[in-house]
């Protein structure tokens, strides 16, 4: 196995791959030899595709509103016209318009389901014919709120939890075609605007530490994770390193799901403040540097 080029020659579809977490995922996949089809609502996503084409000429962007079934259909049709195989699908797209359970707004609930759940199911269904040819890997970006409660999260949590169940069903239904399906549950992850925030405070030790502490509440590990951590997990799952892993859910969350509750005595090193600062300073690799 060539660990430096884990996805050589593969074609990946990364929804919402034009920015944020999706862009990290697509860039890591391109770094490993894949080409990517990405989508997003903003036409500026084309600029991301241009950047991708420098290293992966077959990459392209298609504008798409994942809440609209006609847009989803058009995206699938256009990708299917342009490539003859899809090896990897990463269902990254996700929005959160949640209310308390007793006050669920129909429109906001439906919109969240359309984007998060219907989006993932439609994309999977649409690309399965291309994946069935040679096998493939579907990775769903869900959330720790698919297994934990945090109010108010009704629409978001239910849509993502349904994705976890969908992934398990997909895993066993299409295993005989060599298609695998897994879920990543991100915890507190800084994505898109992190780079801008960090650029503004990078030279101030106090500001950087204060910013990091905002994500530290209740975390076993230091503060929040980086989208790079999610991208590297998607890479692992999409590659042959994980060729016998299917139906799995991986929490990439600094241990949040696995802690019994947040109020426990932690063993802190004597230089905890310095370690905290170093983690916050070094953890968030800007997407441009990948």
């Amino acid at each position: 196995m060539n660990y430096d080029r884990l996805l050589e020659g593969k074609f990946a579809v990364v929804t919402s791959g034009a920015h944020g977490m999706g862009k990290y995922i697509a860039k890591v996949m391109i770094r490993h030899g894949a080409a990517c089809a990405i989508n997003g609502m903003n036409p500026e996503g084309e600029k991301t595709a241009e950047e991708f084409r420098k290293n992966a000429p077959a990459s392209f962007f298609i504008q798409c509103d994942m809440s609209l079934s006609e847009d989803r259909r058009r995206f699938i049709q256009e990708v299917s016209k342009r490539v003859d195989h899809v090896d990897i699908l990463v269902n990254t797209v996700g929005i959160n318009r949640s209310d308390f359970s007793g006050e669920v707004d129909d429109e906001r609930f439906e919109y969240t389901q359309q984007v998060n759940l219907h989006g993932a199911i439609w994309m999977t269904r649409g690309f399965l014919p291309l994946m069935k040819k040679t096998g493939g890997v579907v990775t769903h970006i869900s959330t720790i709120h698919s297994v934990l409660g945090m109010p108010p999260n009704t629409a978001y949590a239910s849509s993502k939890s349904a994705i976890n169940a969908f992934s398990r069903a997909l895993a066993v239904e299409y295993a005989s075609y060599g298609i695998r399906s897994n879920v990543i549950n991100p915890g507190g992850i800084f994505t898109g605007k992190t780079d801008e925030i960090l650029a503004g405070i990078a030279n101030s030790r106090e500001e950087l530490a204060a910013w990091g502490r905002r994500g530290d509440l209740g975390q076993p590990d230091y503060g929040s994770g980086s989208a790079y951590d999610i991208a590297n997990t998607a890479l692992f799952l999409s590659s042959d390193m994980a060729r016998h892993i299917t139906g799995a859910v991986i929490n990439v969350d600094g241990g949040v799901v696995n802690q019994a509750h947040r109020f426990y005595e932690r063993k802190l090193p004597p230089d905890h403040d310095e370690m905290f600062y170093q983690v916050i300073k070094n953890r968030f690799t800007p997407v441009e540097d990948l």
Partner: protein
Amino acid sequence: MKYARMLEGRHALVLGGASRIGRAVALLFAEHGAEVTAADEVSGETERIFNEMAGASPDIKLFTLDFTSECIKRIRDSALTEFPRADILVSAADLYKTGETHNFCLKDFRRMLDVNFIRAVRCFQALLPGMLENRRGELILIAPDLTDSALPGTAAAAACAGAMAAFARNVTMDYIRYHVRANTILYPFIPGREPLTGAPEPLDAANAALWYACDLSRFVIGESLSVNGGVSYFEEAPSS
């Protein structure tokens, strides 16, 4: 990140180093730049396997141990000299027995716990001061995939696997702020039932161990990952 040399500068101790998975882990970790020590019980079979490993990867240090209290004490006492920077501990021991609970010999159960779990805990304790000092440590426990799903005759093996997963999940909460974390890999107890075609090979468990050991998974803490082709999630459809 150097993906082709993910463990450059790292030091790994692989317990059960002569087991099928232990061998694969030791060889893969060495390929990725780690300084590897493989340890296993003294036996003719261990000696034969270690000779093969020495041919395949001469840099791997091979230790035969008796794992008595005295031996563990030696590991603890010599941790700072023999394994001065051991920052990865993998337990790949693989001694499991099946049997219905009413017939199961308690002595066998105790030995199963000891070989697969207690030894790993004691070695981890021995290496922990160095890990805390160096602010880096990964404990990786490889257990049968019996923590969340059941098979007849496996209660004792499942209890052992459950103990390992719970230990990893909990011990990581103690030391994560020192960058010491623990995770578990669940490997098929009975291979050949997987929905995916073909049974997992030791290299598949080794790749999962590699992922846990390196920075690719640095925000993954206390997890259990099944490398079993999806068998844990599979319920056969009733025949019509």
